[in-house]
């Protein structure tokens, strides 16, 4: 987890979110865990994920497509899945990689 925290993209994420919302350390631990699991499934570190998503729109779309698959391996509950997806989406958004986010209703 400390490895993760040394990545500039992760630092930026935490700083941006905490500027407004000040999430607890405990919550960050589990958010970082989710990000770490996703990055492991991608076999890439967070900075590389962001760099690739920013460089190529198609790559970004692929990340999100794989994110959906990844989430399905974590839970069979659609709402929990949506929430887990949102953690990674938030990581993308706060690093400037715009991704569409949807509320629970509708087709996410």
């Amino acid at each position: 987890m400390n490895d993760l925290k040394s990545c500039p993209s992760v630092q930026k994420w935490i700083e941006n979110v905490n500027r407004y919302y000040n999430l607890s350390d405990e919550e960050w631990d589990s958010r970082l865990q989710t990000l770490a699991d996703f990055c492991r499934s991608e076999e890439k570190d967070p900075d590389t994920v962001i760099a690739e998503a920013l460089a190529d729109r198609g790559e970004k779309v692929d990340f999100i497509r794989r994110l959906k698959k990844f989430v399905k391996t974590q839970t069979s509950n659609p709402r929990v899945g949506h929430d887990l997806e949102n953690i990674v989406r938030s990581f993308f958004i706060h690093n400037g990689a715009r991704v569409v986010t949807r509320p629970y209703r509708g087709d996410a």
Binding site: Y20, D83, N86, I87, R89, S90, P103
Partner: protein, 277 residues
């Protein structure tokens, strides 16, 4: 609600309750208010297409959302009123017809120079309008399409300002959103089957607010003295403190942003609606 409180309570609401549908009567009441709003020559170039999000097919909904970049508030709002400016509604000919009516009804007095003849000679022939009338020979005669479109747009924008107040008066949350980027405008026209001469102006989002209706406080506004002048530019219009105090009592002037607890509220709303933080 009193007028000043309506104006004072208006702010762009961007987070709506997805579960509470807006009553059709309330939408009608908004549209009725706009119908009576002011415009030059009684042109009334505004048109609207009311869309209930949950009645759209999935395909149409996605197309419309794509037109304005899937904006969060647009996704979240249950009713979308697309306001258009009808270019045909502000041509020289429409102006002429409407102004004739206003003369016949006694709205425009003949003793200011308004008659069918003076109107026609100014608009059709470009002859100078008599003193007492506006210079419609230079404004309206030979009005090019681009100018007609500009007039239609500006008058529709004014109407939208009234539409927003009307929605607040109904206890609804509302804000104006971009309707479509230039390259997506044909998609918008296709889904809504809008006539070609209708130019999209604003998409008014309407719903019941999930955020607190005060939206976290009144938005910061430029200082009064930098906006308004007395007699000529350079002498600021004096702002009387007693008037300000009275307007606070009348709820035109309300507590400004940031109010404490706003981000706490946003965090909870994100959790409730399933948005990322």
């Amino acid at each position: 609600m009193d007028f000043l409180e309506v104006v004072g309570s208006r702010r762009s609401i961007r987070i709506f309750k997805p579960w509470e549908q807006v009553e059709k009567e309330k939408i009608q009441r908004i549209l009725e208010v706009v119908r009576l709003t002011t415009c030059p020559g009684n042109l009334q170039p505004w048109r609207a297409i009311v869309v209930e999000r949950d009645k759209l097919s999935k395909e149409d909904r996605e197309t419309l959302l794509a037109c304005d970049n899937y904006q969060g508030a647009h996704v979240n709002a249950p009713v979308w009123i697309y306001w258009f400016a009808d270019v045909e509604g502000s041509t020289a000919d429409t102006f002429r017809t409407r102004v004739h009516d206003l003369v016949d009804l006694g709205a425009l007095p003949t003793f200011y120079g308004w008659t069918h003849e003076t109107i026609d000679s100014a608009i059709v022939k470009g002859e100078t309008a008599p003193e007492g009338m506006p210079a419609i020979h230079s404004l309206i005669h030979g009005l090019p399409r681009e100018a007609a479109e500009a007039v239609a747009r500006q008058e529709t924008v004014g109407a939208c300002a009234v539409a927003v107040l009307a929605a607040v008066n109904e206890g609804l949350g509302t804000c104006l959103h971009m309707a479509a980027s230039a390259e997506k405008t044909p998609d918008l026209h296709a889904v809504l089957n809008a006539p070609e001469g209708w130019v999209p102006v604003w998409c008014q989002l309407v719903g019941y607010p999930a955020e607190s209706p005060d939206g976290g406080g009144q938005r910061p506004r430029l200082p009064f003295e930098t906006l308004y002048y007395d007699g000529a530019y350079g002498k600021p219009f004096a702002r009387n403190a007693e008037v300000v105090e009275k307007l606070e009592e009348e709820k035109l002037l309300q507590e400004e942003m940031p109010k404490p607890g706003r981000f706490e509220e946003l965090k909870h709303l994100a959790r409730m609606l399933g948005f990322p933080l």
